[in-house]
C-alpha cells in the first residue's frame, strides 16, 4: 500500500537532485533544468497531499497546475536570459558571468 510518506520521500529525493544540479552545475541551462526538477518535486508533493490529505477539493491539483504554468514562464524567461547572455558574453557558464552590465 503506497502511503503519503513514500510520495514525500520520492519528492524529497527529486528535490535534492534538483538542488545538487542547481548548486554545482556551471552551465546556465543545467541550472534551469535543476530548477525544473525542484519544481516538479514540489508538484509531486502538492498532488500527493491533494489525494491523501484533502481528496474532496482539487486545490492541490490546481496549485500544481499553476506551478507548472509558472515553471513554464520561468523557463522561458530564464532561457531568454541565457540566450542574451550568450550573445553578448559568448559564455553561458554562470561563474564566468560576473559583470553587472552586458
Amino acid at each position: 500500500m503506497v502511503t503519503l510518506a513514500d510520495y514525500l520521500v520520492l519528492s524529497a529525493v527529486v528535490f535534492a537532485l534538483g538542488l545538487y544540479a542547481v548548486v554545482t552545475r556551471r552551465n546556465g541551462v543545467a541550472i534551469l533544468m535543476g530548477i525544473e526538477l525542484m519544481l516538479n518535486a514540489a508538484n509531486i508533493n502538492l498532488v500527493a497531499f491533494n489525494k491523501y490529505a484533502a481528496p474532496g477539493a482539487v486545490q492541490g491539483q490546481i496549485f500544481a497546475l499553476i506551478v507548472i504554468t509558472l515553471a513554464a514562464c520561468e523557463a522561458a524567461v530564464g532561457l531568454a536570459l541565457v540566450l542574451a547572455a550568450y550573445r553578448s558574453l559568448e559564455t553561458i557558464h554562470v561563474d564566468e558571468i560576473n559583470v553587472m552590465r552586458w
Partner: protein, 608 residues
C-alpha cells in the same frame, strides 16, 4: 627718598635703554652714561640706608591685576635688609663699572658690555627691592639672563659660549624648584606678597611638612643661583667671562642674591617644624664651604681659585643663616662683597698685565705692581679672617653662631677657615712672591683701575668695625646673635695663622716641595683635580639616562604606537580577506550558503 625708592632701579634701566639705543655715539661710547646711572642709584641707596637707619619704612604697593577675583598687589619694600643690599650693590657696581672702563679698553663691543652691565644692575636692584615673590622671581630670571649674556660676552670663544649655556641651564634648574615652591605657597596662602604669605603661614594656612617642602624648594633657587653643592658646577666655568663681570656678578651681587632670598623669606624657614629647613640650609652651606675650599687648593687658574673661594664663602653665609646667625650671615655677605670684588679686580689687573690666568706663569709681581699687590694683600687678609680686617669679624660671628647651634658645623667651618688661609697663601705666593716666570713684562694698571682697588681696599679694612651698628640695624625679630666668646675667637685666628704658615712652608721656604706633596697625596690630589668627578657624574647621568629614556621613548613610539596602528591595518586587511570568501559575486556560492544555512538551522533546532 624712601617713597621714591622705585626710582633706584629705574636709573640703570634708563642708562641701559640709552646705551642700547645710541651706544657708540654716546660720550665714552656709553661708559659714562652707565657709570652715571649706577653712581646715582648707589647715592640714592646710601641716602635710603641713612633714612631706614632712622626708622623710615615703606611698602610701596600697586594693584596690578585682578586674578580670578583675587587682586594681585605688587610693589617695592624699603626696610633695613633691602636698604643695606641696595647700598652695597650700588657702591660695588659703580666701582666695578669705573674699573671696567679701563679693563675693557679697545674691545670691539665696548658699548654693548656697558649696556649689559646697566641691565644687570637694574635687575639686581629690582630683585633686592621687590616685596613679592613675583617680582623677586622676575628679577631672578633677569639676573640669570644678564649672567648668561655677560659670561658669553666673547661668544666667539666656544668655551665661553658653552660656559654661558651651562650657567644658564644649571641656574634654571634651581629657578624651576623655586617656582614650584612659590606656587605651593601661592596655592595655600592665596597671595604672592611676602607679608601676605608670612601672615598666611602664621595663620596656619600652610604648615607642617608641606611648609618645609616649600621652604626647601625656594632654597633650591638659592642653591642654583649661589652655586651651592648640587648645582655648583657652573661657577668655575663662568670665569670665562671678562673679570669685572666675574667680580660684579660672580662674587658680589648675583651669587649673593641666593643668600638675600633666604634672608628675605626667613619666616618660611623659621616656622618650618623643628627648623628642618634651617638645618638643611646650614648643612648644604657647610658642606659647600669645605668642598669648595678643598677644590680651590689644587687650582692653577687664579680666577678659578677665587671662584671656589666665593663658593666656599657663600657656603659660610648660608651656614650662618642656617644656624640662626641671621645678622652674622648678612654681615658676612656685605663684607665679602667688598673684599671679594677687590680680589677679583686685583686678579683682573694682574691678568691685564701678564695676559694669562695661570698662576704658574706669574710670580714676583709685588715689585712690578705695588698698588695691586697691597690692595690684594689687604683683601686676602680680610678673606682669611685675620683681625683687624672685616673678614675676621663677619666670619667669626658665623663660627660663633655655628658653635652655639651645632658643633660639627663649627668644626667644618674651622677646617674650612684653615684651608681658605692655605689656598689664599698659596695664591699670593705664586702670584706675587718669587721671581717672574711669565713671558711678558708686567707693569702697573692705569689709575682708572687702581683707584677703585684702593677704595675697595679701604672698605675691606674698615667695614669690620661697623659690626655692632649693623647688628642693631639688621635684625630678625626673635633671633639673637650669641654673645662673643673670646677663646673661640682666639682659636679661629690661630687656625688662620696656621693656614698661612703651612702655605708659606710649602711655597715660600720650600720645606716640602709641592711636587713631592702631590706624589705623596696621589689619590686625594686626583680626586680634587677632577672636582670630585661631579661634572663627569652629571655628564654620565644625563647622557646615559637621557639616552636610555630617548631609546625607550623611541622604541615605545615605534613598537607600541605604530604597532597599534599597523595592527589595526593588518586586522582590517585580514578581516577583508575572510569576507572575500563571502562576497565572491557568484550566485551559486550564495545559493549554497543559503541551503547550508537552512541545514544548520534545522540541525541546531533538532539538537537543542
Amino acid at each position: 627718598m624712601t617713597p621714591y625708592a622705585w626710582l633706584i632701579p629705574l636709573l640703570p634701566l634708563l642708562a641701559f635703554a640709552l646705551v642700547i639705543w645710541r651706544g657708540d655715539r654716546l660720550p665714552g661710547r656709553g661708559a659714562y652714561v652707565s657709570i652715571a646711572g649706577i653712581a646715582l642709584a648707589g647715592l640714592c641707596g646710601l641716602v635710603l640706608l641713612g633714612e631706614t637707619a632712622f626708622g623710615r619704612r615703606a611698602d610701596l604697593t600697586y594693584q596690578w591685576v585682578v586674578l580670578g577675583g583675587r587682586p594681585l598687589t605688587v610693589g617695592f619694600i624699603v626696610d633695613p635688609l633691602s636698604a643695606v643690599m641696595t647700598a652695597m650693590v650700588g657702591v660695588v657696581a659703580s666701582l666695578i663699572t669705573i674699573y671696567s672702563v679701563g679693563y675693557m679698553e679697545g674691545d670691539p663691543r665696548f658699548s654693548r658690555f656697558f649696556a649689559y652691565l646697566s641691565l644687570f644692575q637694574f635687575s639686581m636692584l629690582f630683585l633686592v627691592l621687590a616685596d613679592n615673590f613675583l617680582f623677586i622671581y622676575a628679577g631672578w630670571e633677569l639676573v640669570g639672563l644678564c649672567s648668561y649674556l655677560l659670561i658669553g660676552f666673547w661668544f666667539e670663544r666656544p668655551a665661553a659660549a658653552r660656559a654661558a649655556l651651562k650657567a644658564f641651564v644649571t641656574t634654571r634648574v634651581g629657578d624651576f624648584s623655586m617656582m614650584i615652591g612659590i606656587l605651593i605657597l601661592f596655592l595655600h596662602t592665596g597671595t604672592l606678597s611676602f607679608s601676605g604669605v608670612f601672615h598666611g603661614i602664621a595663620a596656619g594656612r600652610i604648615g607642617g611638612p608641606l611648609l618645609t617642602l616649600a621652604a626647601i624648594l625656594v632654597f633650591g633657587g638659592a642653591v642654583g643661583k649661589s652655586a651651592q653643592i648640587p648645582l655648583h658646577v657652573w661657577l668655575p666655568d663662568a670665569m670665562e667671562g671678562p673679570t669685572p663681570v666675574s667680580a660684579l656678578i660672580h662674587a658680589a651681587t648675583m651669587v649673593a642674591a641666593g643668600v638675600y632670598l633666604v634672608a628675605r623669606t626667613y619666616p618660611l624657614f623659621v616656622q618650618s617644624p623643628g627648623h628642618e629647613a634651617l638645618t638643611v640650609v646650614a648643612y648644604v652651606g657647610g658642606i659647600t664651604a669645605i668642598v669648595a675650599a678643598t677644590m680651590g687648593v689644587v687650582e692653577d687658574d687664579i680666577k678659578r681659585v677665587l671662584a671656589y673661594s666665593t663658593m666656599s664663602q657663600l657656603g659660610y653665609m648660608l651656614m650662618g643663616l642656617g644656624v640662626l646667625g641671621y645678622t652674622a650671615g648678612m654681615f658676612h655677605l656685605i663684607t665679602h662683597a667688598f673684599f671679594k670684588a677687590l680680589l677679583f679686580l686685583g686678579a683682573g689687573s694682574v691678568i691685564h698685565a701678564v695676559a694669562t690666568n695661570n698662576m704658574k706663569e706669574m710670580g714676583g709681581l709685588a715689585r712690578a705692581m705695588p698698588v695691586t699687590f697691597w690692595t690684594f694683600l689687604v683683601a686676602t687678609l680680610a678673606l682669611t679672617g685675620i683681625p683687624p680686617f672685616s673678614g675676621f669679624f663677619s666670619k667669626d660671628a658665623i663660627l660663633l653662631a655655628a658653635y652655639a647651634q651645632d658643633r660639627t658645623l663649627w668644626l667644618l667651618g674651622t677646617i674650612g677657615a684653615f684651608v681658605t688661609a692655605f689656598y689664599m697663601g698659596r695664591l699670593t705666593w705664586y702670584t706675587f712672591a718669587g721671581s717672574y716666570r711669565g713671558g711678558g713684562h708686567p707693569h702697573e694698571s692705569p689709575t682708572v683701575m687702581t683707584v677703585p682697588l684702593v677704595i675697595l681696599g679701604v672698605a675691606a679694612a674698615v667695614l669690620g668695625f661697623l659690626e655692632s651698628p649693623f647688628e642693631r640695624y639688621v635684625r630678625f625679630p626673635g633671633v639673637e646673635a650669641p654673645a662673643p666668646n673670646a677663646p673661640l675667637l682666639a682659636v679661629s685666628v690661630l687656625v688662620a695663622l696656621a693656614g698661612w704658615a703651612a702655605a708659606a712652608a710649602i711655597y715660600h721656604w720650600r720645606l716640602i716641595p709641592s711636587a713631592a706633596l702631590r706624589r705623596y697625596l696621589r689619590a686625594p690630589y686626583t680626586l680634587l683635580v677632577h672636582k670630585y668627578y661631579v661634572d663627569d657624574l652629571y655628564g654620565w647621568v644625563f647622557l646615559k639616562v637621557g639616552g636610555l629614556v630617548v631609546l625607550l621613548a623611541g622604541a615605545f613610539d615605534r613598537y607600541v604606537v605604530d604597532g597599534l596602528v599597523n595592527a589595526v591595518g593588518w586586522l582590517t586587511g585580514r578581516l577583508g580577506w575572510v569576507l572575500r570568501f563571502l562576497q565572491t559575486g557568484r550566485e551559486e556560492n550564495y545559493l549554497l550558503l543559503i541551503f547550508l544555512g537552512l541545514v544548520v538551522i534545522v540541525l541546531v533546532r533538532l539538537v537543542r
